[in-house]
């Protein structure tokens, strides 16, 4: 009998398990697992990720390379005569924890309003007058001493009493420069975790949408706690000595206007950090006993702050520096190992970081693009990354040093006036009589001459020299001058200027040669004598250059043309002959060009740590207008409109150009592509080439936004033509040039009104587009086109990649659901991915929300009886609280199986005395 009762009890217990009202069935959390707190996970598809890149991230990874410091510590220990590695180990631990401590210290000072935030964008309307002046006066290629002095003043004032008053004497600081945060001191802490393994807690990097399986994995990972996320003060010895990966987070919910101040926050944090690292006395205890030594560390090159997800830490701009910085993403991919690194930046003639955008504009995102999942430990991935980073950096450094050496030798000897006459002299015998020259010698000299002329023509010919434009750009960039300051370096302007002058003379020399006579039929060209850069470009690396090893063969005299060394010795040869020197000049300039394209990724001159967006390749695709996150949305409405319009059009207006493109699923088509693919209809009165040209040229800012364009003599009557609600367009033509200037939808107004300069604008109002359907229906535009339009709209809206879509998941809610049910019920997937709580019981949810709102507590279990009382137990208190809850069943006639009814609770719950003592929020 007793046994029978037991089985009945067990059966009841099991049957009630699905609803789990009993407190004992909630899975418990250990103390350490409860301490893991993370910001909500933001999931995004391609278009959303591109769009999100314009917003500040509140979560970042700190990528730390210990190797340079470890080497310095090791050398110092050896210099001290210490054989043990104790000092190195201790030093690395201090270094790691010190960096996090300093970041946390500055973060806390910013969030407590002691340190002001400094604007990341400095325009004319900057609110900080002096800071704006300093930022604008500082050249990007020079170290900014004025900024150092300013930061010093601000820092020192912030450590004094009445700091607000003192700060206002330094610059025009107002309340808006101090972040408003809650008074709760724990909320001002910078959250920090050591990333041991990449796990579902970083799942937005691995997948687009949080499915039931993903949510389950998130819950399990969060409950594993410290196995995946460690403590930031752990010793390097227990993890990885060479590198460290941390995840730091700002409690976004504590900042009312994070979206507005986020970029300024990161900008300020990084500026203060770099300054304090070297100059602030307050951080010395955090780096003791290595503070003095560590001040010499190039902290900006050993540390990267990388946004965790689609959002950015720096406001994206389509600049060379940001493109170069984001190209580090290539180094983070598994396909490149440190030994077999094959990336553009290692080429003699790299295409540049912008080329990748055009080659692969619609690349993957949020699909573990950096192969994080392929390594056991997160530090293994980072270790590989920094090995590749060091190799790439070393390669560029070597190029820079070789080039700067050559140019310094060249200019030091004032070869400018000598070298071309010496070139004529070098080949005089070959060109005039060849008597006394062996056959082998003649062949060698002819080859050298051929190589010289080919290389200079290829690079610098005034019409088709393919590097001429690049050199002109190089001449204007300041990056090389910035890196090479204190090197006795002339300037990139004078180095390129000299080349342009030299190339003119060399090309004139080459063009003056009697080519048929010199290189007759019996001439055998040896391609191995070309410079490596030429072979890479022209022969596609199929032949290896032997130019350097053949150089001594060129020697016609007993001494090389230019060498360096002590008196009486040949020393180091700089170049063997005048032609060799000229070719080395070109080669060195090409090396500088290559280095300058990616230098921004390895040498930061901004006096702050860099923040490449490693996980979001759409940052630069969006900022450079290669990918428009709104394109598909716009274009699908446009296509919709186009079909409706086609149904309506009865006559073709002269000069009317209309896009008839159909987008392929999963593919974003830019306007330029449409033009290139000939999918633009054009009026017979206009020449096709001319139209295509003007469209490509004038639509530069609008790439990716096809519009119907009407070119008319004036703008009268356009609205009559485009009569559909929600879509307007207007155009006017400059009476002189007939060129179109285009304004984007957001810029409509000014251009449209000003009739003088020729204008075009288009605007699609998505919100009212539905009116088009009703309008069309009323007017009786039926038939095929209208059906196709509606069908197309429906299909296009379900594009999983190119219609912005996002989800937000609160890890604590996912864990809560998992703890209650032992799984993530299917019904909970939808609310959880909206960032909502899901306990499948309205009274439990309302009670949990209420307690969470009043106390910063973690729910241990909840028991809702539905008879007016709901018991909530939180970890922080021994006794549960009982709240009065008022349940309302679903309304009669509700057929929604997911409708569980609703519930309310007391306006002022009666919390136990012990709870009140701990204090409500």
């Amino acid at each position: 009998m007793r046994l029978g009762l037991f089985w009945v009890f067990l059966l009841v217990l099991l049957l009630s398990g699905g609803r789990a009202h009993s407190s004992g069935q909630w899975r418990a959390l250990s103390h350490t697992d409860r301490s893991i707190e993370l910001n909500p996970l933001r999931f995004a598809n391609r278009a959303e990720c591109a769009k999100e890149s314009e917003n500040p991230n509140s979560s970042a990874f700190v990528l730390l390379n210990n190797i340079p410091v470890a080497r310095a510590l090791s050398r110092m220990s050896q210099a001290m005569g210490l054989k043990s590695k104790e000092k190195v180990k201790l030093g690395i631990d201090v270094y790691r924890t010190g960096i996090i401590e300093i970041l946390s210290y500055i973060h806390k000072k910013i969030l407590s309003g002691e340190l002001p935030i400094l604007p990341s964008q400095n325009g004319e309307n900057s609110s900080l007058k002096r800071y704006a002046e300093i930022s604008q006066s500082c050249r990007s290629d020079r170290y900014c001493h004025a900024l150092d002095r300013y930061l010093k003043q601000v820092w020192q004032a912030s450590h004094q009493s009445e700091y607000r008053l003192k700060l206002s004497n330094i610059d025009s600081f107002t309340e808006s420069h101090f972040l408003e945060t809650s008074s709760n001191s724990s909320s001002r802490e910078l959250r920090c975790s050591l990333v041991r393994k990449f796990s579902p807690l970083q799942s937005p990097l691995f997948g687009v949408e949080p499915t039931q399986a993903v949510l389950t994995d998130i819950a399990k990972s969060a409950m594993q706690g410290r196995q995946v996320l460690g403590s930031c003060d752990e010793s390097a010895e227990t993890t990885n000595v060479k590198v460290a990966l941390f995840q730091v987070e700002v409690r976004e919910t504590q900042l009312k206007n994070w979206e507005a101040v986020g970029f300024d926050y990161w900008h300020s944090l990084k500026l203060y950090f770099s300054w304090a690292w070297r100059q602030a006395k307050e951080v010395e205890p955090m780096l003791y006993p290595f503070a003095h030594l560590f001040r010499s560390v190039t902290i900006e090159e050993s540390l990267l702050l990388v946004p965790n997800g689609c959002r950015s830490l720096v406001k994206p701009k389509c600049t060379g520096e940001q493109l170069a910085m984001n190209s580090l993403r290539e180094l983070a991919k598994k396909e490149h190992t440190p030994r077999t690194l094959d990336v553009d930046l290692l080429n003699y003639l790299p295409k540049g970081p912008q080329a990748e955008l055009l080659l692969d504009p619609f690349t993957k995102v949020n699909d573990d693009i950096l192969d994080l999942g392929s390594t056991q430990q997160a530090s293994d991935w980072l270790d590989q990354f920094y090995q590749k980073y060091s190799r790439a950096r070393g390669f560029i450094k070597s190029k820079l040093i070789q080039s700067v050496n050559f140019f310094n030798w060249y200019f030091g000897q004032n070869l400018s006036d000598l070298i071309v006459p010496d070139l004529y002299r070098q080949f005089r015998q070959l060109l005039e009589r060849q008597q006394g020259l062996s056959h082998e010698r003649v062949l060698r000299e002819k080859n050298e001459l051929y190589h010289l002329c080919a290389e200079y023509t290829f690079a610098a010919h005034k019409d088709y020299g393919f590097l001429r434009k690049d050199f002109a750009i190089l001449q204007k960039t300041k990056v090389v001058d910035g890196i090479l300051q204190n090197f006795g370096w002339k300037s990139i302007d004078s180095v390129v200027g000299e080349f342009l002058m030299l190339s003119k003379k060399v090309l004139s020399f080459c063009q003056g040669l009697h080519q048929r006579k010199i290189w007759k039929n019996d001439f055998h060209l040896d391609p191995k004598g070309y410079s490596p850069w030429y072979l890479e470009k022209v022969y596609e690396r199929k032949i290896a250059s032997k130019r350097s090893s053949r150089s001594p063969l060129l020697l016609t005299q007993s001494q090389p043309y230019l060498s360096v060394g002590r008196e009486g010795s040949t020393g180091t040869v700089i170049c063997w002959t005048a032609s060799d020197c000229l070719r080395t000049y070109l080669q060195s300039l090409i090396a500088l060009r290559a280095a300058s394209q990616y230098a921004g990724a390895f040498w930061t001159l901004n006096q702050q740590v860099s923040s490449p967006s490693l996980f979001n390749p759409y940052v630069e695709r969006n900022s450079c207008r290669v990918y428009d996150p709104w394109f598909k949305t716009r274009s699908l409405f446009f296509n919709f409109f186009a079909d409706v319009a086609q149904a309506a059009l009865v006559t073709v207006n002269p000069g009317f150009i209309f896009s008839r493109a159909r987008l392929q699923p999963g593919r974003v088509v830019s306007f330029q592509e449409l033009v290139n693919e000939g999918k633009i209809e054009y009026s017979p009165v206009l020449q096709k080439e001319k139209v295509a040209f003007s469209l490509v040229a004038d639509f530069g800012p609008l790439v990716g936004v096809p519009c119907a364009i009407s070119i008319t003599e004036n703008k009268t009557g356009l609205y009559d033509f485009y009569r559909f609600a929600g879509i307007t367009a207007g155009a006017c033509v400059d009476s002189k040039s007939h060129s179109l200037s285009v304004a984007s939808a957001s810029e409509i107004g000014g251009n449209f009104e000003s009739g003088g300069a020729g204008c075009f604008s288009c605007q699609i109002n998505f919100e009212s587009v539905t009116q088009v359907v009703s309008h069309a229906a009323v007017k009786g535009f039926g038939g095929f086109f209208l059906v196709r339009a509606v069908l197309g709209l429906f299909k296009a809206l379900s594009d999983p990649f190119n219609i912005p879509d996002n989800w937000q998941v609160r890890i604590d809610y996912v864990v809560e659901t998992y703890r209650k049910f032992g799984e993530i019920p299917k019904k909970c997937v939808s609310p959880l991915k909206k960032g909502e709580r899901c306990l499948l019981d309205p009274c439990e949810e309302v009670a949990a929300n209420r307690v969470e709102q009043d106390f910063a507590s973690t729910v241990e279990w909840i028991d809702s009886s539905r008879y007016g009382k709901t018991k909530v137990k939180v970890y922080e208190h021994a006794e549960p609280v009982i709240l009065n809850t008022y349940y309302s069943a679903p309304s009669e006639g509700s057929f929604d199986p997911d409708d569980l009814g609703s519930c309310t609770t007391d306006w002022r719950p009666d919390y136990p005395a012990s709870w009140k003592e701990r204090g409500a929020i």
Binding site: Q78, T298, N405, N408, Q413, L418, R425, Y561
Partner: protein, 183 residues
């Protein structure tokens, strides 16, 4: 090992040569605080030196820090790769006043083949040692190179001197001194 830790200072350069100026310069490490000092031993009757030494004959100056010297500094990489070949002893002996002026300003760091800033070669490697030795006439000496740093930012601005056994010499760059042989 223990002995080394107990001792407050360890002589980095065991030789503290008295130059022809009568001035002895050597680098020493504070093992506890991990800071490097330049030790000055003034020659007899060298009043300039004793003034710098606050009236004493022997004193220590803490070396300043050096901006971006532990990392990928191009200037330092170039120096370590070119020391003895591009950066050479000019043969000009530097006055003690000039040296003391730099020391007193505190805007300097010293560099040897055992430098903590050398991330290019192994510690005191044979190759680096031999390059440094090319800076002095006597191959047995441990040349001590002075790098002058910017008073505010602490960037290396130049490598003005090298101390050899017998004197402190001006260091120069051979960039402007290459031999040219016109064919």
């Amino acid at each position: 090992m223990k002995k080394a830790l107990v001792a407050a200072f360890v002589l980095f350069l065991t030789i503290s040569p008295l130059t022809s100026l009568g001035l002895g310069l050597s680098s020493v490490w504070d093992v506890k605080r991990n800071e490097k000092f330049l030790e000055l031993v003034c020659g007899e009757k060298d009043e300039d030196c004793t003034t710098v030494c606050y009236g004493d004959r022997v004193c220590k100056y803490r070396e300043g820090y050096c901006f971006n010297c532990i990392g990928g500094s191009l200037v330092l990489s170039h120096f370590f790769e070119g020391v003895g070949e591009i950066y050479v002893n000019s043969g000009e002996v530097v006055s003690s006043k000039e040296i003391l002026g730099l020391i007193q300003s505190g805007n300097f760091v010293t560099i040897t083949s055992q430098s903590e800033f050398n991330l290019v070669y192994r510690f005191n490697s044979r190759e680096l040692k031999s390059r440094f030795q090319k800076l002095c006439h006597s191959m047995s000496s441990q040349p001590l190179v002075f790098a002058e740093v910017h008073p505010e930012s602490k960037h290396i601005e130049s490598f003005p001197f090298v101390q050899c056994d017998d004197a402190v010499y001006r260091l120069t760059s051979l960039w402007s001194g290459a031999k040219i042989l016109v064919p």
